[in-house]
Symmetry: C3
């Protein structure tokens, strides 16, 4: 039986892969290209984190992530026309995935003995770097650099993790609080169209 | 005396570097830029594979790959006008390089104790990722995501490797059969213009 | 008290980050995106070097690089309008940074026991790769591939390092001579508009 965290991780991977595959399909990628972009969106952040931390990339120990991205491709191929009606559902899944990926990234860095400021960076990379690689592959300026409160949600979640840990709270409670804060920041930012200021040009 | 595999590896590296340098020249790169793009096309896939596997990148142990890319640059600078007549020759060299790089990638992952599904991914990365970095550097959407049966040939070659190994065939025979199948899939796909389906947009 | 090298390193990091942030601002990035592009410009080259060398990325051991990039962002936000008058100052700082980064990269590879040709590559990656990632992120063809004598200055500096070491010169003198040669090549190339030849297209 998969654990609760494994189920959430699967859902998050699926939602991230769907986001990559949809953007690839808008650029006329073939099935293989769409699969690769979906996969990289889902596992790219964690892979960069693991390379920086000096450990074996997580997806090389379990084929579930490759399979999950393959299921996401099949979904878009065969059920793609229903995706548009599920826009809000996928947004929720994507935000849950972001929250979980961030908490996993922060926790992994801490478990390896790195200080909190490194762990917050690793949490943010885990959550947001896959989308950056996705946008480089489809030849667009990364979305998170221009419009969305996305990585900032990861940073906030990492700081909440830090605060809870500083207050010696229970580890499970710390992780849940951190994940929930990522989720809430992301949802509120989209709902109320909160953006960071644009840096003025010609400087 | 170089071995047969070393000669093939040199030819493959040269062909990959030529492909990068030609695309760079179409974008008005200077000599240095063309050299870097050629080098990255040739060694990029193997470098990513080695970083993921946690071993020292292969080209850092022998300067032959840097020299080989330099010879490819000199060729394009001084003999470039003859390249167009050698189009088919280079296509054959490129396909031989793809076959060899795939087999080397699969074999290296297996030798480090990784399971076959990781080895197939590593073979495909070795063969195809250099071209992806090349296309990112020249600011184009990676060719293999949209048009060509290229990485799929690597995947097929990796699966043939698996099947031969499963049937307990002789290691040398396994590697040759795997390489030949990469080569044949690539040649047939180009000759008969076989493509994967395009993923429909607006999803 | 910070040492002389630490002060130079801080100045170089600041100048590299400013170059990334200014290019990001020209593309309407938000504050977060500009920070990330500035940070990656400053630490990207050293990070790739450390991954290739198999050691922990240097910025993960000291938060000063993240803080320094943050100060560069604040500078552009609040004092950006004065930047244009400081154009020459920043060019000098940027060239000092390039010189120092190159020497640090060469020295680190040698200290790990790699041969000189690897060390020269590592010095060039340390100095120039951050700017390549910056240009990929802002979706432009990397500047150093088309116009500027930039990485070539790193290569020259690495070769001077080699020559001084071959002549058994004092290590400190070797490093200073190497750095000064990077600086001079860079300054002369810009002052006299020295470029490498462009590779002719349609080949």
């Amino acid at each position: 039986m998969p654990t609760f965290v494994q189920i959430i991780e699967f859902v998050g991977t699926f939602a991230f892969a769907i986001s990559g595959i949809r953007l690839a399909s808008a650029k006329q990628f073939d099935w293989f290209g769409a699969y690769v972009v979906g996969l990289v969106t889902a596992i790219g952040g964690g892979t960069i984190r693991d390379l920086l931390l000096g450990v074996t990339p997580f997806w090389m120990t379990d084929p579930v992530y490759l399979v999950c991205s393959g299921l996401a491709l099949l979904w878009v191929i065969f059920l793609g026309k229903y995706l548009i009606h599920l826009h809000n559902t996928f947004f929720i899944f994507d935000s849950i995935g972001l929250a979980l990926f961030t908490v996993v990234g922060v926790g992994k860095a801490l478990a390896l003995g790195y200080p909190f400021w490194v762990a917050i960076v690793m949490g943010s990379i885990t959550g947001a770097a896959g989308g950056v690689i996705r946008d480089v592959f489809i030849n667009e300026i990364p979305l998170i650099f221009r419009k969305e409160i996305y990585a900032i949600a990861c940073v906030v979640g990492g700081m909440v993790y830090w605060a809870c840990d500083f207050a010696s709270l229970n580890p499970m409670f710390t992780q849940i609080t951190s994940g929930v804060s990522v989720f809430i920041v992301r949802i509120l930012a989209v709902k109320y169209k909160i953006c960071l200021p644009i840096l003025k040009g010609n400087q």
